[in-house]
Each structure stands twice: as C-alpha cells, then as structure tokens.
Symmetry: D4
Subunit: 217 residues, 8 copies
Amino acid sequence: MKLEQSQKLLFIGDSVTDCDRVKPEGEGLFGALGKGYVANIDALLQAVYPELGIRVVNKGISGNTVRDLKNRWQEDVFEQKPDWLSIMIGINDVWRQYDTPFIKEWHVYIQEYEETLWQLVAETKPLVKGLVLMTPFYLESNEQDKMRKTMNQYGRVVRKISEEANCQFVDTQAAFNEVLKDLYPATLAWDRVHPSAAGHMVLTRAFLKEIGFIWNR
Amino acid sequence: MKLEQSQKLLFIGDSVTDCDRVKPEGEGLFGALGKGYVANIDALLQAVYPELGIRVVNKGISGNTVRDLKNRWQEDVFEQKPDWLSIMIGINDVWRQYDTPFIKEWHVYIQEYEETLWQLVAETKPLVKGLVLMTPFYLESNEQDKMRKTMNQYGRVVRKISEEANCQFVDTQAAFNEVLKDLYPATLAWDRVHPSAAGHMVLTRAFLKEIGFIWNR
Amino acid sequence: MKLEQSQKLLFIGDSVTDCDRVKPEGEGLFGALGKGYVANIDALLQAVYPELGIRVVNKGISGNTVRDLKNRWQEDVFEQKPDWLSIMIGINDVWRQYDTPFIKEWHVYIQEYEETLWQLVAETKPLVKGLVLMTPFYLESNEQDKMRKTMNQYGRVVRKISEEANCQFVDTQAAFNEVLKDLYPATLAWDRVHPSAAGHMVLTRAFLKEIGFIWNR
Amino acid sequence: MKLEQSQKLLFIGDSVTDCDRVKPEGEGLFGALGKGYVANIDALLQAVYPELGIRVVNKGISGNTVRDLKNRWQEDVFEQKPDWLSIMIGINDVWRQYDTPFIKEWHVYIQEYEETLWQLVAETKPLVKGLVLMTPFYLESNEQDKMRKTMNQYGRVVRKISEEANCQFVDTQAAFNEVLKDLYPATLAWDRVHPSAAGHMVLTRAFLKEIGFIWNR
Amino acid sequence: MKLEQSQKLLFIGDSVTDCDRVKPEGEGLFGALGKGYVANIDALLQAVYPELGIRVVNKGISGNTVRDLKNRWQEDVFEQKPDWLSIMIGINDVWRQYDTPFIKEWHVYIQEYEETLWQLVAETKPLVKGLVLMTPFYLESNEQDKMRKTMNQYGRVVRKISEEANCQFVDTQAAFNEVLKDLYPATLAWDRVHPSAAGHMVLTRAFLKEIGFIWNR
Amino acid sequence: MKLEQSQKLLFIGDSVTDCDRVKPEGEGLFGALGKGYVANIDALLQAVYPELGIRVVNKGISGNTVRDLKNRWQEDVFEQKPDWLSIMIGINDVWRQYDTPFIKEWHVYIQEYEETLWQLVAETKPLVKGLVLMTPFYLESNEQDKMRKTMNQYGRVVRKISEEANCQFVDTQAAFNEVLKDLYPATLAWDRVHPSAAGHMVLTRAFLKEIGFIWNR
Amino acid sequence: MKLEQSQKLLFIGDSVTDCDRVKPEGEGLFGALGKGYVANIDALLQAVYPELGIRVVNKGISGNTVRDLKNRWQEDVFEQKPDWLSIMIGINDVWRQYDTPFIKEWHVYIQEYEETLWQLVAETKPLVKGLVLMTPFYLESNEQDKMRKTMNQYGRVVRKISEEANCQFVDTQAAFNEVLKDLYPATLAWDRVHPSAAGHMVLTRAFLKEIGFIWNR
Amino acid sequence: MKLEQSQKLLFIGDSVTDCDRVKPEGEGLFGALGKGYVANIDALLQAVYPELGIRVVNKGISGNTVRDLKNRWQEDVFEQKPDWLSIMIGINDVWRQYDTPFIKEWHVYIQEYEETLWQLVAETKPLVKGLVLMTPFYLESNEQDKMRKTMNQYGRVVRKISEEANCQFVDTQAAFNEVLKDLYPATLAWDRVHPSAAGHMVLTRAFLKEIGFIWNR
C-alpha cells in the first residue's frame, strides 16, 4: 500500500468525480464525498485500512474541462496541500466536440489539452508525494466510433504525460473494456459517460489496484 | 394530403411519443400534446391546413412496450374511435434487453413483438381510414452495434406487417440515418434514444411526408 | 438557402422569442433555446441542413420593449458577433398602452419605437451578413380593434425600416392573418399574444421562407 | 334590500365564480369564498348589513359548463338548501367552441344549454326564496366578433328564462359594456374572460344592484 | 369626486396596506396591488370611474411602524411624485408594546409617533394635491381594553395632525365600531388586527366616502 | 405523584392538544407528541420521574369539538386502553359561535356540549385509573367579553361534571388568569386561543400540579 | 464463487438494507437498489463477474422487525422465487426496547425473534440454492453496553439458526469490531446504527467473502 | 430568584442552544427562540414570573465551537449588552475529534478550548450582572467511553473557569447522569448529542435551579 499514515488524498475532475459531492468543502460527514468512485475509495480505505487515517477530499466539478481545472488549480489544489493527487479530466473536452459541434469555444482540442495538463502536472508533481493520472473514457465498445477514437487519443496523451512525469497511471478505458466484453454499454451508462454504480466500482478497483490496495488483508 | 376534414388522428407509442403530454386525455389546450413530434405534427397541420380542422390525440406512455399497448388498446384506441392511427413502438422492447439484461421478464423478444403488433394491426385496420406504422429507431451510426442490429430487426418486422396489412409506413431509422451522416449521435440524443428538438423534427418530417403534407401550399 | 456553413444566427426579442430559453447563454443542450419559434427554426435547420452546422442563439427576454433591447444591445448583440441577426420587437411597446393604460412610463410610443429600432438597425447592419426584421403582431381578426390598429402601425414602421436599410423582412401579422381566416384567435392564443405551438409554427414557416429554406431537399 | 335575516345565499358557476374558493365546502374562514365577485358580495354584505347575518356559499368550479352543473345539482344545490341561489354559467359552453374547435364533445351548443338551464331553474325555483340569473359575458368590445356574438345569444337565453321563470336578472355583459367604453378589454382581462379585481367589482355592483343593496345606508 | 383625471394615488402603511402586493413596484397587472383595501379601492375606481384613469400605487410593507416609513419616505413617497397620498400607520407602533412587551426598542411610543408623523405630513403636504390620514385601529369592542385605549390615543394624534395640517381624515376605528355592534371581533379578524375581506371593505368604504366616491353614478 | 409505574396517559382534545403531533399514532420518537403542553408533560415526566416509565399518547385533533370526540371515542380512547385519560375540549364549540356566526351547524351549544361530555365521561370513568378534565379557556382579560363569558359557562360545565363524576379537575382559565394580571393577552396568543410556548407551560404546570408532580424531587 | 450464471440474489431486511431503494420493485436502472451494501454488492458483481449476469433484488424496508418480514414473506420472498436469499434483521427488534422503552408492543423480544426467524428459514431453505444469514449489529465498542449485549444475544440466535439450518453465515458485528479497534463509532454512524459509506463497505466485504467473491480475478 | 425586573438574559452556544431559533435576531414572536432549553426557560420565566418581564435572547448556532464563538463575540454578545449571559460550548470541539478524526483543523483541542473560553469569560464578566457556565455533555452512560472521557475533561475546564471567575455553574453532564440511571441513552438522543424534548427539560431544570427559580411560587 503506497498511501501512508494520515496522508491527504485529493481527487480533481469533472462530473464523474463530482457525483453530488458537497460544495465547496468536498469532505466531511453525511455523504460529503458524493456517490461515485471517490466515495467508494474513501469507504474502502476506511473499512480496510482504518488505522491509516487517510483523509480523502473530492474537488470534482460537473462539466469541467482541463481549461476549468487550470482556472481553479491555485485554490482547489495548491491551497489544499494534498499528499496525493488524482486527476481524471478530458471527457467534456472531447464530448462538447460531439454533442454541441457548432459551439466551437466550448471545445478543448488535443493540443490545448496536452499543454494544459502537462503544465498542471509539471507544477504539482514536485509538491506531492504521489500523483495519479486517470485517463478519460467513453463507454462505447466500437473502436471505430468517432468519439471513442478521439477519447482514445486524449487517453494516450494522459499515458504519455504520466510516463514522462513519472506518475501513477490508471487506464480507465482499459478497465471498462474488460467489462464491455460481457455487458452492453447501456447497462453501465445510458449516455455512455456517467457510470452506474457498477461503472464506479470499475473505476474504484482500477485506482486501488494502482496504489497497492489489498482487499483481503 | 390524405387527411380529410375534421378527422381524428391518434398517436400511440412510448416515451418518444409521450413527451410530457397531459394525462389521461392526451389533447386540449396549453401543450396537452407534449413537446415531441406529435405536438409538431399537430402544430403544422393547424398552421398549414387550418381549414381541415384535424383533431390530434396523443396516447403515448413512457416506458411502454408492445405488450403494454395491447393491455390498453381497448381504452386508448378502440374507445377513442380515431379516423387515423399512428403506431410507433419497439424501442423499449429492445432496450431492456441491453440496459437491464438480467431482468428477463422486462424483455419483449421479436416473436412476441411481431405477433402482438400483428394482432393489434389486424384488429384495428378495418376500423380506421388510415393506419401509419412507424419503425422504432436507435441513434447509433455503427450498423454493427449489437443493439442497432436488433433494432433493425424489429424495424423490418414493422415494414413487413405494414406491407402485408397495407398500411402507411414510415422508416424513422432511415430518416435519422440521413442526418447521422453529418451529425454525431450525441448531438441528437445523449442516450441515443430520446431525441432533441431536431430529432423530433426528423420524425415530424418523415411522418408528414408519408401522409402527403405540403409545406408550401 | 441564404445561410452558409457554420454561421451564427442570433434571435433577439420579447417573450415570444424567449419562451423559457436558458439564461444567460441562450444556447446549448437540453432545450436551451426554449420552446418557441427559435427552437423550431434551429431544429429544422439541423434536421434538414445538418451539413451546414448553423449555430442558433436565443437572446429573447420576456416583457422587453425596444427600449430594453437598446440597453442590452452591446452585450447581447455586438459582443455575440452574430453572422445573422433576427429582431422581433414591439408587442409590449404597444400592449402596455392597452393593458396598463394609467402607467404611462411603461408605454413606448411610435416615435421612440421608430427612432430606437432605426438606430439599432443602422449600427448593426454593417456588422452582419444578414439582418431579418420581423413585425410585431396581434392575434385579433378585427382590423378595427384599437390595439390591432396600433400594432399595424408599428408593423408598418418595421417594414419601412426594413426597406430603407435593405433587410430581410417577415410580415408575421400577414402570416397569422392567413390562419385567422379559419381559426378563431383564441385557438392560437388565449391572450391574443402568446402563440400556441401552432402559432409558433406560423412564425417558423414565415421566417424560414424568407431565408430560402427548402422543406423537401 | 331583498335578502332577509339569516338567509343562505348560494352562488354556482364556473371559474369566474370559483376564483380559488376552498373545496368542497365553499364557505368558512380565511378566504374560503375565493377572490372574486362572490367574496366581494359577502364582504360588502357583512360590512354594510352586519345585522342581517347573511350566509354566503360559493359552489363555483373552474371549467364547468351547464352540463357539469346538472351533474352536481343534487349535491351542490338541493342538499345545500339555499334561500337564495345565483347562477352564472355559459362561458365555457361557448369558449370551447372557439378555443378547441376540433374537440366537439367539449362544446355545449345553445339548444342543450337552454334546455338544461331551463330544467335546473324550473326544478329549483319553487324551493328558494330568490333566484338570480346572471348572463355569461365576453370582454370584447367588437359586437361583430364571432365569439362575442355567440355569447350574446347565450345571454339572451338567460334573459328569456329569467323572464319566463320570473327570476332576478343580471345582465353582466351590459355592465361590462359600460366600462369597455373607456377601457380596452386587456385592462380588465388578458384572455377577455377571467376578470381583474376591477372586473369582479363590475360583477359585484351589478349583482348587488339587482338585490337592492344600498352602499350608503 | 375629489380625484381628477389621470392622478396618481399612493397608499403607504403596514401589513393592512401591504396585503401581498408585488414588490418593489407596488403596481401593475395580476394582482400587483395585493388583496386588501388598496386593491378594492383601485378596482372600484376603475369599475365606477373608468374614464378618470386613476393610477393607484401600493407602498405598504408588513410590520412597519412610523419609524420605518420615515426611513423609506424619500424613495417610496417623494420619488414617486404622487398627486394624492394616503397614510395609515401606527398599529405596529402600539402592538409591539403588547405582544412583545420586553423588547423595548421595537416600541414606538406616542411622542415619537406624533413627532414623526407630523414631520412626514408637514414635508409632504405642500407637494401633493390631496393627503388622506387614516387612523390605526384595533378590532376590540371593549373600550376599556388596554391596547384599545392606547390605539385610541394614537388615533387621536392622527385626527389632530389631520386637522392642523388640513388633511382628509378617515376614522377607521369609528367605521369598524359600527360593524362591531353586530359582529364579534373574531368574525372580522382572528388576531383583532388583520381584517377579513369584510374588514377590508369597511376600510374601503370609509376611504371612498372621504374622497367623494359615488357608488350609483 | 398519582401516576404509577408503566401507566399509559392519553390526552384527547383540539388544536391546543394536537400541536402538530404525528398522526395517526400520537406517540413515538422525533417529536411525535407535538410541540404543546402534552410534549412538555411527557418531557417532564421522563426528566423527573424516569424510573416510572410513563407512556404518553397524544390524540388531539385540530378543530375538534366534543361532537367530534364522540365520533372517534371508540377508536381513539377505548381501543387505546389508557390507564389515565385527560380531556380538554370546548374551545371550538364556543369559538365557531363567534368567528363564523352564520354557519349554525358548526356551533355546539351548551346543552349538547354538556350531554355529550357527560356521556363520554360516564362511559369511560369505570375503565380508567384516573380521569382528568381540563376546562376550555379564552385568553381575554375582560370578564365581560361575550365570548369569554360563554367560555366561562362551558368551563363551569366541566367543573360540574368533574365533581359529579369524581374526576381530577384542572381549571386552565384560572391558571391563565394569574398570568394575565401581568401580561396582555397578545403576548400569550395573537388570536387569544393558540398559546405561545409560555402559554403551554401554564397548561403544563396546571396539569402536573393536579397529578401531584414534584419539580424538586 | 458460489453464485452461478443468471441466478437471482434477493436481500431482505430493514433500513440498513433498504437505503432508499426504489419501491415496490427493488430493482432496475438509476440507483433502484439504493445506496447501501446491496447496491455495492450488485455493483461489484457486475464489475468483477460481468459474465455471470447475477440479478440482484433489494426488498429491505426501513423500520422492519422480523415480525414485519413474516407478514410480507409470501409476496416479497416466495413470489420472487430467488435462487439465493440473504436476511439481515433484528436491529429494530432490539432498538425499540432501548429508544422507546415504554411502548412495549413495538418490542420484539428474543423468543419471538428466534421462533419467527427459524420458521422463515425453515420454510425457505428447501426452495433456494443458497441462504445467507447476516447478524444484526450495533456500532458500539463497549461490550458491556446494555443494548450491545442484547444485540449480541440476537446475533447468537442468528448464528445458531444458521448452523442448524446449514446456511451461509455472516457475522457483521465481528466485521465491524475489526474497524472499531481503530475508529470511534461516531465515525461510522452518528446513531451507532445507520452506517456511513465506509460502514456499508464493511458489510459488503463481509458478505462477499462468505460467498467466495474474489477481488483480483 | 436571581434574575431581576426587565433584565436581558442571553444564551450562546451550539446546536443544542440553537434548535431552529430565528436568525439573526434570536428573539421575537412565533417560536423565535427555537424548540430547545432556551425556549423552555423563557416560557417558564413568563409563565411563573410574568411580572419580572425577563427578556430572553438565543444566539446559539449549530456546529459552533468555542473558536466560532470568539469570532462572533463582539456582535453577538458585547453589542447585545445582556444583563445575564449563559454559555454552553464544547460539544463540537470534542465531537469532531471522534466523528471526523482525519480532518484535524476541525478539532479544537483542550488547550485552545480552555484559553479561548477563559478569555471570553474574563472579558465579559465585568460587563454583566450574572454569567452562567454550562458544561458540554455526552449522553453516554459508559464512563470509560473515549469520547465521554474527553467530554468530561472539557467539562472540568468549565468548572475550573467557573470557580476562578466566580460564575454560576451548571453541570449538565451530572444532570443527565441522573436520568441515564433509568433510561438508555438512545431514549434521550439517537446520536447521544441532540437531546429529545425530555433531554431539553433536563437542561432546563438544571439551569433554572442554578438561578433560583421556584416552580411552586
């Protein structure tokens, strides 16, 4: 287990991370962490490693792109002083290109995406004990689907930055692909983006595996 | 124009037809016909053929399959005594096989679908002046997608019944396919099923074309 | 078709234009364009000319007079940089003279109406590729009705400005008059102002005809 | 003053009478009589003739036609045992012919209107000390307006029955016509049917005048 | 009738005047004047003197004392430029002394009441064509009741100022006393302060009598 | 202390007893006993005599008269099998005579009141270990007030029945009179009926005194 | 893994099982299984064993005791025909003895608990492929706490029945005790009964361990 | 009785004091003091000592620690100029250490607690006629419980400050302990912190005893 005693683990991202978390704090009692993978991870850390006292904070905001993250990075990351940081961003950067194709200023194309994410990682890596990069994903089995192909490109950017900056890396698309062999995408998400409880468990397992969590201690 | 003076045109179907229509009447003032293709058709008939005095009734109910239609056919079709009837059903019959695969009794497989639809058409055709069969559809461009393939099979059943029973036929999937050449499915429906206003206009045009409506009279 | 690839078409006006559009953006997913003629026009442009990628923005605000438009013109028109602009204003300018006759400062009389509208058109015409002026209207068949007569005067102002400034012109009152031959005004609007879905289709058709839209491409 | 000590005065009618009265009682504390002419009449009777102890009951129901009154006459009139009864009905009987012209079964044509009203009056007159018939009305100044003409015909039916059955008669249309000389209809009612507070005062005065009420006792 | 063509008549006061009027305007369509005596007066002026075009504005605010009126006099009276002004204030000035006796700073004793009201009247009288002073009141029949006695003292202050400043004067307590001969206070107001519809008609009649309104013109 | 180990103490009455208790049970967690004197008594019994384990049930219903109690006596008293019963009824029996004087069937005059209450007491006394009769009250200091005089008569009926049937007796009016020497009625109840928290403490103390409760055990 | 292809796994219990599940179905899309351990188990089964197609149904109802389960057993268990059944009941049976000690009929004492649970198990065991008994629990670390001691007794009844009837057995109290070594009870549940997300993960892990679930397949 | 004529008694604290009081005033009509011990004390002072005219103000705010009190002391204590002040604080200072152990900055440890409370008392004592210090409490019978032990330590700090500063002292924990001999904690508070109505009566009695209140004057 890579997390250590009393560390603060902060998640930042879009609606998949947000999941109705309490705002602005992003932590506390009564479901403050929302209903998604962040809440699952916190719950499993408390249930299986209660002695570690890991503090989890959720700073996801629905609809965010990497451009939005940059704008709130000072307040929501630097000032929070996390020991570990996890970033999952990019779904809206891609999605807006496909669901509102005529509103160009809502699109974050791949060059801006890469440069911005790179900058955020570069500035933050020296300040944290661990940095986890999670790819964006799209719950579409057809690899030839246009939006799936774009999402894969953004995912490869994440992998590349992760390798260059020596981060922990979680390939969420790969994790989902395993399940999509048996289940049609609509079972996991009507809109192919917002996961069901099962989908959030896929993300939960993929993250925990990367940080060395052991289910049967 | 196939519709004649003072005729009653009744639509029955699922959520795509329903679209928040007022219940139980399905007609009246103040948006009683809902916000979908039925309301569009009524609006265009009044706007372009006001002298015909066509009476439109919406009997769509969200979530319905052909099995549900059968159960309420006596009340919602026979007792309404429509001059024209339009049926669009089958999306949920197929969808439940893909979004809740483990709950088998919610699935309506193709044999039951065909037999039930055939029975309803056979019993009703002699009582009406016109009967329009609209195929179910799926806003997925990939023809190899499993659910799209199933939906196509159900659509072929509708075409076959339409031909055998000598009904008006509207191939909604074909109409959408035209638009999907230029627009990604998410532009027309996040969940690939419930159409945006643009999607309802596609259905509106396809229906009106079949009944001989002329835009520039 | 006068609209060209990727152009932005902005509508400004009062409650007939507004129709519950999302504020302040006036565009986006999930019915952001409201439920009136603007949404219809957008839907038909996407359904029939999907390859053009026309971007529609709705900046109508309920209760507005031309005096209100002037106050928000900088933000809601100039800063939006539309390629095409459509203006329909004047109903409240007239209506307040008849429904709240004792509150004089709510009335916009014809001289102020003409000067203000003229100024807005003059300043904007050079900046756009197309400018459509739609008359205000009143769903009253009796040409001798006092308010109908006043509305006709305002409509003639719109026509005059349109001709002098060389704009596209839509005579909405004339379009409604066609339908009012067959339907009593209360069928289209209980208050003779806010149109039913059918009434919005009358506006939709009148606008689309002016810009060269073809229903059966 | 024709009302006497401790008499019960019951009003029956449609939405103009109803005006948010409490249901089903139609009397009691805290605005139970609604916000329209019935409440005004009760308030003026208490304020000016407090010693009479007149009991006012409101049995108006929105949307009612004379056909609806007939269906609830036993419960809402006979079982209430009023000393005085006031009936104002007919607006919806006429309005539905003009706002939903295609839904014929919602229309109550003049023959049914006359026969039904006549029957109700004939059966009730012997049981009460006073019976007031109020005409339906339409806040439209143009006498040639189609709906106004129809409403006038229904009003003449009320006058005729009133004379033949020897009832008190209130010509509400005539009372409104006085005001409409100075005010445009929209000042009194956006939809020309549901009166403003001023419109309800017109009804109040017309009724009270007929029963001999004196403002300055 | 003392009011003349197109004059603006403004009412200011506490909850008895307020009665759910729309804020901040205090005038307009759709019951903007509230549900109390102000709305009644406006309705009767429109119904009986429609040709005068009197404009009524309601600036009552619940809970106000004369101290509160002073604080908003500039905005709510002077800037409104009324032709006629009506003031009814003092109920809360007295009531707080009896319902929250321990919170002294909520009480407005008679000296402050008189000085403040006098100042407001003195500054405003020269600017208006008519100024009506209405006494506060208490719906308690027992003249020996402590709060009733205090209210009478405040009422005498209003009478005195009215005489000295040569204003129109309405003795609301006297008007209610007439009715209280026949009705127990609880019939007109459960809390002896907020009048029922009948109580508001008592106020309405008392005011209209003072300004020369004639019911049967 | 007259209450003994594990006894059930049931209160029945009108809105003063009800005070938003949970329905239909009238007992349980989370404020199920409402916010009035019943909740206070229960709270003090638990706080001061926790070892007794007294079970308190609240069966008050707003608006009830003794006539209503009779109708629900079987279910709400007999079937509950209380050890002790407390009855406080009569306020609405009297109040309706004064706040809705024209609706005679809502009044319960003193003969019916006495006969009904006597019957309920006579049938129930043999079945319980203790029966407490609380008088109705009216928070009006003026003994000559008409409604206060009537309430006193009803209170004397309660005293008489209490003596004849050998019940515990609580003179609530007398208890309030003590406080009214120092506080004006509006401090304890705006409508002179529904007590403030202080008023409910007066009732609480009067009841507890009668059953031998000792504050400083 | 003891669960096999396409089996139906039904959970029954109280609020810990219920957790806002959809009623009456207890299965379906959009969080129909609630937010507790049942939803977690379903999510993990889909995420890790998607090929098995396990169907999970939640029939928990807040506040239920074993007495309530008996009353709805026919409908909610037998008619559902589950392959596997999991029962967790007893918390309210015990809790009511401690939070509402005076309302004896709400208590289910240990003899009734044992007999009823035994009967349900005995009748159901032959009809299912697997039956899991989960103990009730109490998140109190002090073993001498009275309610904790009682809960332990009920837990021993569950263990005994489980052994005698040869069921799967989950000692939830033991699972929680592990975590309570490090965390104070209030971290897991303010009221020591309704678990936080972390508490539900403890239940989830304990259940899954018993049925042979493997996290890292 | 230590309170004297017309004194102002102000309570400050956390949610136990707050109990839905009206904000920001903390006094007035209609339950402005909330539903807890402050409202009880006010009600008993009015009911038993109405001639004293004690003014009670509630400045409790849910979730507050002594750190929060310090931040609002100027506005909520000094500017209120109370004659008597009662402080009950410390529950959240302790609770956060046990329910959110990982969020350290929410904890107020005992040194900061003592210094802050001491400073507030020292600055305020000279300005008031009486100062009451109430200990925080925890409704847990087990003296060895970790949180109970911590709470006891904080309670001892309050006692010590009270003695050194010569304040009135209320040992709320001791008062509850008396009741906890007979009742299990869950009867008084599900979460062992927020008291039931009975719990608030325990606080009420303990406070009133300290200030010399006599129940049977």
